[in-house]
């Protein structure tokens, strides 16, 4: 009898172990958000439930979640037909979670805020909202047309502008002054006055000339000057810093282009580097490793002397090309007594200014059972939710550090920035960058986007870290690798 009882107990323990092992993993708790594993509910309290998934982009931090919950509460209070439910997943696992939910036919109705790279991982899954824009009479003229156009893709209109980050050249006026250089153009269309007094177009070649004058060795000589020692450079003229990705560089300097040859399908996709991009990458590579360098290499820029990659804030870089979100991280420069200013983006090889706008927005899942209600929520987030999520107030900072997509809402954002950086005058340059969005986005879709993006990132890292590269051979290797990746 004892043995039988013992056997029964063993069976019970074994069954418990199996059940425990087979149980669903518990989602990591994130602030006060609803659990990510919550089953989708079609109706609750007689209302249509719309699930809003946060985490694939920004938005998972506790302070952000608190504001997001606030927005959800505001929306629900204003509604008698729709109930909005927030689902926050840690960024590291958000893509897996959403992919699994979509695969199971339980995808969230709305996803975001999310940028291009994040959303391109789910290309083909986003709803074309053009019919809902038309049927609801939604006014898109409140946005810069270039921003609206940027969301028009082969899959239709997949988003509306929400949070934007235009690019500009950030420069260090102190270093310009020391080198006897004029400030950069403060208005798109203006020319630049070179040290010899000549007025020149502000393009990438002239940017390189200015950058060389700002690249100084330990003896005080500038790049290109007789006796300049390239092994003892203490200050550089230019860096792409955190915008260092070959597709950005190519897009900046050639005003568009893409690596994916259009018209392919699985098995016949092909990668081809546009000729103008090759020219752009050679410009970059020569800037790092050429006879007259003006861009720090990877080891230098990642090193102690240049603030571990945040090189502009080290005070030893004359210019960087960065989006507005870089305001987050330039504080070290100011703490050390330096200042910065904005200059216009240079003219690209095709004779037109090419900028880049990082943009976060919301996407609606194509498989949603309630597209009209989801669009109602999307419109609410972009028009009303934005006030707490992006604009904020002096008492309550916004959840996301972006520029509001609607011009009429930019006043408070600008006032806060002017208070934070009182020495900056050219705020218009930064805002005007919204008129030079990259269309198509330099983060545009490629098959197997994550791997393709990582592979081109490795190519950039190789350029910045390896002297004596056979660039043409590496570009050919990149094309071959990308073609393989596209067809995997």
């Amino acid at each position: 009898m004892k043995k039988q009882l013992f056997a029964l107990l063993a069976l019970f323990v074994a069954a418990s172990m199996i059940l425990t092992a087979c149980g669903a993993p518990t989602a990591a708790p994130v602030a006060t958000a609803a659990p990510a594993t919550e089953a989708p509910v079609g109706l609750a309290e007689g209302k249509v439930v719309i699930r809003w998934a946060v985490g694939i982009g920004t938005g998972e931090a506790a302070n952000q979640v608190a504001i997001e919950n606030d927005v959800v509460a505001d929306f629900n209070a204003s509604q008698d037909k729709i109930k909005l439910v927030l689902e926050v997943t840690p960024n590291a696992s958000a893509r897996d979670t959403i992919a699994t939910e979509i695969a199971a036919g339980m995808g969230p109705d709305i996803v975001g805020p999310v940028g291009w790279v994040g959303s391109n991982a789910f290309t083909g899954q986003w709803l074309d909202i053009a019919p809902y824009i038309a049927s609801s009479g939604y006014d898109t003229t409140k946005f810069e047309q270039a921003l609206v156009n940027s969301y028009q893709t082969e899959q239709g209109m997949v988003g509306l502008p929400f949070a934007v980050y235009p690019s500009a050249i950030y420069y260090n006026p102190g270093l310009f002054s020391e080198a006897g250089l004029e400030p950069l153009p403060a208005k798109y269309g203006d020319q630049y006055k070179m040290p010899d007094g000549s007025m020149v177009d502000w393009n990438w070649d002239n940017l390189a000339k200015v950058a060389k004058l700002l690249t100084i060795d330990a003896n005080g000589k500038h790049s290109g000057e007789a006796g300049f020692d390239r092994t003892k450079i203490v200050q550089y003229g230019f860096s792409f810093q955190w915008e260092g990705h070959p597709e950005y560089v190519g897009s900046f300097m050639s005003n568009g282009g893409a690596l994916l040859v259009p018209g392919g399908s699985k098995g016949s996709y092909a990668a081809k580097v546009p000729e103008a991009w090759k020219t752009a990458w050679e410009w970059l590579y020569n800037g790092v490793w050429g006879d007259e360098p003006f861009i720090p290499n990877g080891a230098v820029e990642g090193g102690a002397d240049f603030n571990s990659g945040n090189s502009m804030s080290s005070g030893k870089i004359g210019m960087v090309d960065m989006p507005s979100w870089y305001l987050c991280c330039i504080g070290d420069l100011v703490k050390a007594g330096g200042t910065f200013e904005f200059g216009t983006m240079p003219i690209s090889l095709d004779g037109k200014v090419a900028g880049r706008v990082d943009a976060d927005t919301f996407r609606i899942w194509k498989g949603t059972k309630h597209p009209a209600e989801a669009f109602t929520v999307l419109a609410y987030l972009i028009d009303t939710g934005i006030l707490k999520l992006v604009v904020g107030s002096p008492e309550t900072p916004p959840a996301y550090g972006a520029i509001p997509s609607q011009g009429t809402l930019r006043g408070p954002w600008l006032a806060a920035q002017k208070a934070a950086w009182p020495f900056v005058k050219n705020w218009d340059v930064l805002i005007d960058g919204l008129n030079y969005a990259d269309v198509p986005s330099s983060e545009a879709f490629q098959p197997n986007m994550n791997e393709a993006w990582a592979r081109t990132g490795t190519f950039y890292s190789l350029m910045l870290n390896t002297e004596g590269l056979d660039l043409a051979a590496e570009i050919a290797t990149l094309e071959s690798d990308l073609t393989t990746i596209y067809n995997k």
Binding site: R95, K232, G303, E451, L464, T477, K488
Partner: protein
């Protein structure tokens, strides 16, 4: 042998269940019941997933292609793998392929991982060393620290900007612009990983020490009588006698090398930076599975890795007869 004669023969035990007494049957059933959780776990979490990954290698299965039905593609994934430049590229001054990264690192890391613990074990065994127990504990102690924690610790110490090591080098007069970039520098990234790995040598040191202490002292006495010097004693007695331990550590190190993953994932965020130099094979496999969500290609990489490790291990075992001395086989 006498002790075993009372046990039933194996075939009898299996085939005579019907002939068992009720008590024996109940004990047999209880025994199987106790084994059941392991069987379920083994089937559910090891064998079936393994076979499933083998099946996946013949499919086109990606988690993100949620609307597509996985297609049967035959050997296409294997063909892609054998043409994949991101694995095989060995051209100098280029982004190295994942396999080449692993081999390059192994050329540096394996000798250090074998001979340094052996050297330390010899020191620990020295009769002139005072406080050997203290040193043994000190050398072993880092091994008990969770590996990820130690990587973060070393990551902080080796930070080019704020790390104590560069600050120490600077204090010793190394110019600011000559400080190593450690994990950020294409020339320093492998030495950086090796330095981090040194913290884990405590276990290898301990097994080597156990091997050294197991060498019969009469062999050393014979060496003395024959007039052998310290090198001769080491080469002719100590090394052959501990060669099974060295071989054991070599096998573990080689397998560990092919599975090397955590350090580049933490230190370089799994990006392969600088210039692809930290994209180890196993990291590439992980990214294919869990970042790129390509289950089929990831499975193919995993099975090829399994085969490569198997072949390497078989080759190492086949060389063992030439340099590994088993005293029990040579009485």
């Amino acid at each position: 042998m006498e002790l075993l004669t009372h046990l039933p023969k194996k075939s009898t035990a299996v085939t005579s269940y019907r002939k068992m007494s009720p008590i024996a049957k109940r004990e047999y059933r209880n025994g199987m019941l106790f084994l059941l959780p392991w069987f379920v776990g083994f089937l559910g979490f090891t064998l079936i997933p393994m076979l499933a990954t083998l099946f996946f290698t013949f499919l086109d299965l990606k988690i993100l292609d949620v609307l597509a039905t996985p297609k049967w593609v035959g050997l296409a994934n294997y063909i892609t793998l054998f043409k994949d430049n991101q694995i095989w590229n060995a051209r100098p001054n280029s982004s190295p392929g994942a396999l080449w990264v692993t081999i390059r690192f192994g050329i540096i890391a394996l000798p250090v991982g074998i001979f340094l613990p052996m050297g330390i074990a010899l020191l620990m065994n020295s009769k002139w060393l005072k406080g050997s127990n203290f040193f043994r504990s000190m050398f072993y102690m880092p091994y008990i620290i969770p590996f990820v924690a130690s990587i973060f610790l070393w990551g902080g110490l080796l930070n080019p900007a704020s790390g104590w090591i560069n600050k120490g080098l600077q204090a010793m007069g190394v110019p600011y612009d000559s400080l190593p970039g450690w994990g950020n520098d294409i020339n320093w990234v492998y030495p950086t990983y090796v330095i981090m790995g040194l913290w884990g040598i405590g276990n290898a040191m301990l097994t080597m020490l156990a091997g050294i202490q197991g060498v019969p002292t009469d062999l050393y006495d014979a060496c003395k009588v024959d007039g052998a010097g310290s090198w001769g004693t080491f080469w002719n007695v100590t090394f052959p006698m501990i060669s099974p331990v060295i071989f054991y550590n070599l096998i573990l190190s080689v397998v560990g090398l092919f599975q090397y993953f955590l350090v580049p994932l933490v230190v370089n965020q799994g990006t392969g930076a600088p210039g692809g130099a930290s994209m180890f094979y196993n990291l590439y496999l992980y990214k294919t599975f869990f970042v790129n969500m390509n289950m089929s290609y990831g499975s193919t990489l995993a099975w090829v890795l399994f085969i490569v490790i198997l072949i390497t291990t078989v080759i190492l075992f086949s060389t063992a007869r030439y340099w590994v001395y088993y005293a029990s086989e040579n009485p």
